[in-house]
Subunit: 349 residues, 2 copies
DNA sequence: CTGTTAGCGCTTTCAT
DNA sequence: ATGAAAGCGCTAACAG
């Protein structure tokens, strides 16, 4: 006889209770569903009898009403959701980036769903367009584009932003100040007397890597320092092999920047194996800040990047695209700083 | 005059092209939209003239038709999407778990959106119910439940599965064989003569931790070995402090299992600082397998868990719940193995 | 101040 | 073999 009876069904299966709809509320209160909609949406034309207003709110709460996002989105032509496509890596930078994006999105009334690339090989951004085309999301946050021809078509015709990478099209990039980070590193070791430096970083077709390496070339050239660039897979193995190569070259560098945490483990292992002391013979700086760096055999200095800010900025940029179709590249500079630990020392005599 | 003219609009703004709908196809082909729907859905009642059939397919392809997931879901009362709620941690296990889930879901025609907890403190599972109630997802994969009263209400009334954790309700848990993993560890060090072992692991209110610790107690008790259990935050700092405590206790353990990679860094640092040699004075085993372990100063042995399989099994279980409301706990055992490196040795004399 | 109406794009039962 | 019609739950323009 009561409402709870409805929940019981023959067959004994725990019947899933149907969600409360606008019309359920309307019926109880005795008004039309559009009135309920207006009240619940806080329609500015608040011309509703205060009493009715209160009753609607009360009944909605009592029924545990939740707007059906599907129906609303279908009507409004907007889902309120974004898809964030990131490479499936163990690198901790993505966690921080995501957190920044998630929080900003929540503040601004959006949901972001993270789509990690299920395979080692990133798919071209274009292959995620379907998420918008099928109305699962209003726009795309893309962090997997590569500087290769297959990725060139980009994401045409759907609102998107490239995060921590530059895509093929202008005005859709949100990146950090990688050149600034590299300058911090080069400046720091230059001041300590180093004249030959190395960069161990990811593949050249990753835009972020490209920008770091370019900055390193400029920075070293302008100071008359020599630079060895080693591109390697962003793995422990990659870092390891890169250092073995590096040690064969002349002049042997005395300071080394490392692009990713995973590579760093390989770099350290190779150095240890070759009896190159850190920081005695080689200063090392990571471009990936992580808590674990402080706990390594010799704690490793790093440059900490504004990852959470990047994530937030990307969400802001995407919202701007969706809502007003406006664009423009954005550069996130702050806060960036060197985290000094024990892996950097003056140039050996 | 051509279709592409439509894309141009006065005002010069790049007008977003409207997605192709069933009715657009119907119009071109000259049939009713329901016919198009049937054809495109491969309706078993394939009573359609072959020629019409072909034309519909051709036009759909040519227009780049994508079904509107919103409208379809609204009608079908099913979104084809799951939400996977995971803690926002740097721990690499989540990456592997996600990959397994993502791939299996794709195989089975579902989309999974990852919702990382935006804060350090996990919210109770119940606070994600809204995703289903708002019809954004058909069900929840939950990996953040804690064994604390606030999390007890669980996720009532929406299809869900607890992944790598046991929730408050029976029949919804998909977990790995943590006791088996611990037995591997205990058996291994017991065979090497160790008599006093320690477990450094996360907080006791994490179910996975609880199960590992219980298994360790049983395993050690049955062999007459002593066991020290150290619960600590799953961070480098946590591991570090735990070991400092451990070293004060008597009997001082000669073998130590570590619950997470982050803790491991702290454990190793504390041991180094106290001049406890690994594996000379202390054997160390990680319950988090990761590539970086092979590159540490002394490469660390670990037990590798079937994480991808866990993710896949969780998706299967959730689909079963959504489609037929069937349930039952599942235990993923295979493949599990010890990865032998250099951090384990016979008991010191 | 509130009700009516007309869809959003798709699926599905029932006619024909 | 195909069309007509109803409706998923919500919003918004327009009446009254």
């Amino acid at each position: 006889m009561t409402a709870s009876d409805e929940a019981r069904r023959p067959g004994g299966a725990r019947a899933r209770r149907r969600a409360s709809r606008l019309v359920d509320i309307a019926e109880v209160v005795g008004v039309h569903v559009s009135t309920v909609s207006r009240v619940l949406n806080g329609d500015p034309a608040q011309s509703v009898r205060p009493e009715v207003y209160r009753r609607i709110l009360a009944v909605a709460r009592q029924q545990g009403y939740r707007p059906n996002a599907l129906a609303r989105a279908l009507k409004r032509q907007r889902t309120g959701a974004f898809a964030f496509v990131i490479p499936l890596l163990r690198n901790p930078i993505w966690a921080r980036l995501q957190r920044g994006a998630l929080q900003r999105a929540a503040e601004r009334g959006h949901v972001v769903m993270i789509m990690e690339e299920p395979t080692e090989e990133p798919k071209p951004p274009d292959s995620y367009r379907y998420l918008v085309e099928e109305s699962r999301a209003d726009g795309l946050l893309i962090a997997t584009a590569l500087r290769v021809p297959e990725h060139a078509p980009g994401v045409t015709a759907v609102p998107h932003v490239y995060v921590n990478r530059r895509g093929p099209d202008r005005g859709n990039n949100v990146v950090m100040d990688e050149p600034g980070a590299v300058r911090l590193f080069v400046g720091h070791v230059a001041a300590l007397g180093h004249r030959a430096v190395a960069m161990v970083d990811g593949p050249a077709d990753v835009d972020t890597v490209h920008r770091r390496v370019s900055a390193a070339r400029r920075g070293c050239a302008s100071r008359g320092m020599s630079l060895s660039v080693l591109h390697a897979p962003a793995t422990e193995e990659g870092g390891y092999e890169a250092v073995r190569q590096m040690l064969r070259r002349a002049p042997r560098p005395t300071a080394c920047g490392v692009g990713s945490l995973n590579q760093l483990f390989g770099v350290l292992a190779a150095l240890r194996e070759a009896s190159v002391a850190v920081p005695g013979d080689m200063s090392v700086v990571s471009f990936d800040e992580d808590e674990c760096l402080a706990y390594l055999e010799v704690p490793v200095s790093s440059v900490a990047m504004p990852l959470a800010e990047l994530g937030a900025a990307a969400v802001d940029a995407l919202i701007a695209r969706v809502e007003s179709d406006s664009r423009g590249d954005v550069l996130v500079r702050e806060p960036m700083r060197m985290v000094l630990r024990d892996s950097v020392a003056p140039r050996p005599a």
